[in-house]
Symmetry: C2
């Protein structure tokens, strides 16, 4: 079988998982597809836009491409997605929005800021703070089968809006198939994000993506991924500062850890509270330190020290 390359039609934008959508293209197992993906919120936010100027419409905020029909994929199979290449565009935005994110009670107002991605491997977050650009797609998913239609969030049993910052160039993702042809779509490109995406957005940008698909005729216990050595993030090699939330509830522990990190960023690095929250979302990682100790769990947020240009 010849492995072919395809270009996804950039006009086939859709804003939801919809079983009635015709395939944008049909491919064979082993084929590669190139996607030219719009930023989430294209036209709703732009370089230099403020929260007051922006207008978020969640019915159309994600500009997904696909669906890709993979010949031979059947319910019960596994679709492998090899992430061959990801190229971020030249600008990005981040925001928090009323009622959303991990700490809506602390941040009742909205906030938008934008970034210049033309500087190289990092973007300037604030004077003396450079964050690494580490592109990935927030949404990669097969159609979940049920429900036949749903918005692109939240994530579902066939993947979708997993916002998994580990899925950078070189990583491989495996997702279960629930409908004939898998009907894969992707979008929501991110230039940077930490584990947790706490403020509700990543650093959102346009992106070119090249993905190779393979069908495996067996099931998988859960959506899984693999990060090979060259794709492992190096942001932590310079060490990290961390805050802990010790609580009987994992969500409450995550909130405590994030609040303490925001306080630390304000006190030690002079950020506004708003920017500290966004920075936690952009590069801070939420980790479950322990989940087994007599009903009280420990969650940590780690902040890589490599982003600070001065010690």
């Amino acid at each position: 079988m010849v492995m072919r390359e395809h270009i996804a039609d950039p006009a086939r934008i859709h804003h939801e998982w919809d079983a009635d959508l015709e395939p944008a293209l049909s491919i064979n197992s082993g084929d590669t597809v190139h996607f030219d993906l719009k930023v989430a919120g294209e036209g709703q936010v732009w370089p230099g836009a403020t929260y007051e100027q922006s207008k978020f419409d969640f019915d159309t905020i994600y500009n997904l491409l696909g669906p890709v029909h993979v010949n031979g994929a059947e319910p019960g199979d596994t679709l492998e997605i090899e992430i061959l290449d990801l190229q971020a565009g030249d600008w990005a935005w981040a925001a928090f929005l009323p009622g959303m994110g991990l700490l809506p009670e602390d941040f009742p107002d909205g906030y938008v800021r934008t970034f210049d991605l033309t500087q190289g491997d990092t973007t300037t977050f604030a004077p003396g703070i450079e964050i690494p650009i580490s592109p990935f797609l927030g949404v990669m998913g097969n159609h979940p089968g049920e429900p036949a239609r749903q918005l692109p969030f939240p994530p579902h049993r066939a993947g979708g809006n997993m916002d998994n910052r580990h899925l950078t160039r070189g990583a491989t993702l495996w997702l279960p198939v629930f409908v004939d042809g898998a009907m894969f779509s992707c979008g929501d490109p991110h230039a940077a994000q930490g584990d947790g995406e706490v403020c509700v957005t990543a650093v959102e940008c346009p992106m070119k993506a090249s993905l190779r698909f393979r069908v495996h005729k067996q099931g998988i216990a859960a959506p899984s991924f693999r990060v090979p050595a060259p794709a492992v993030s190096t942001k932590d090699v310079g060490g990290y500062h961390a805050t802990m939330g010790i609580d009987a509830d994992l969500m409450a522990g995550a909130k405590k850890a994030t609040r303490a990190m925001i306080e630390w960023l304000v006190a030690e690095h002079g950020l506004t509270r708003a920017d500290a929250y966004v920075l936690c979302s952009a590069v801070g990682d939420l980790r479950i330190i322990e989940i087994v100790d007599s009903g009280v769990w420990t969650v940590a947020m780690t902040m890589p020290l490599s982003i600070f240009q001065t010690a």
Copy 2:
């Protein structure tokens, strides 16, 4: 002020946080204390012991040393603990126990296994699987003030049994002070553990520890720590395989991800289910991938590929 070194009396073992305990020693801010710590379960489990032979008594399982009274530390202050050195002993054990851990419903029976730590930087988990020895103390804490007495688990507002695998040699921990003199104790040494400690034990071993204490006359938003570059774990540099639990409940998501990792370890690496569960606890890391997406969160367990001697 002269900075002094002290040796904690190895006979001053205690098994709980107890406000009536006399200090084992009084030190000044800046002083260092050397601890010779017994393994958790000393005398209850031994090299080569099986679950049937072992006898766990949770009232005495932890052999804490201290309490260390730090002169000048008062409620509202912060105690800094600099981890100068940690040397693991020559053997270790791990177990899961009925009704405990992240997956008691999957593992209703108990299981104990032991490890030889005399081989160098790793210990053999199974043929072809070497896990890195990365010593830390599962318990480091100030007395919490209230309650006046409690067992060493779970962790509390002044630290305690945080089971934080990041606190290796070179790391620094900051804990709030709730009683005069801080009344610091430590114990529960671990040779290896992943984020989560999912099976309920780490790789438990005896350990020599050297800690330097400093009092800061200001409070802290939450227990915090810092890992400098040389102390960052290198276990992930060879890449990782990961499973995801996508669920509206973080605990349920963590269970899904762990179950799928156990299945993968059994299928791909030929482990028994029991050893796969223990391996998840010993080196697998639970990460909160996203915690903000329309009520459905994604938790991942990552397994470092560097532990597998064959690809």
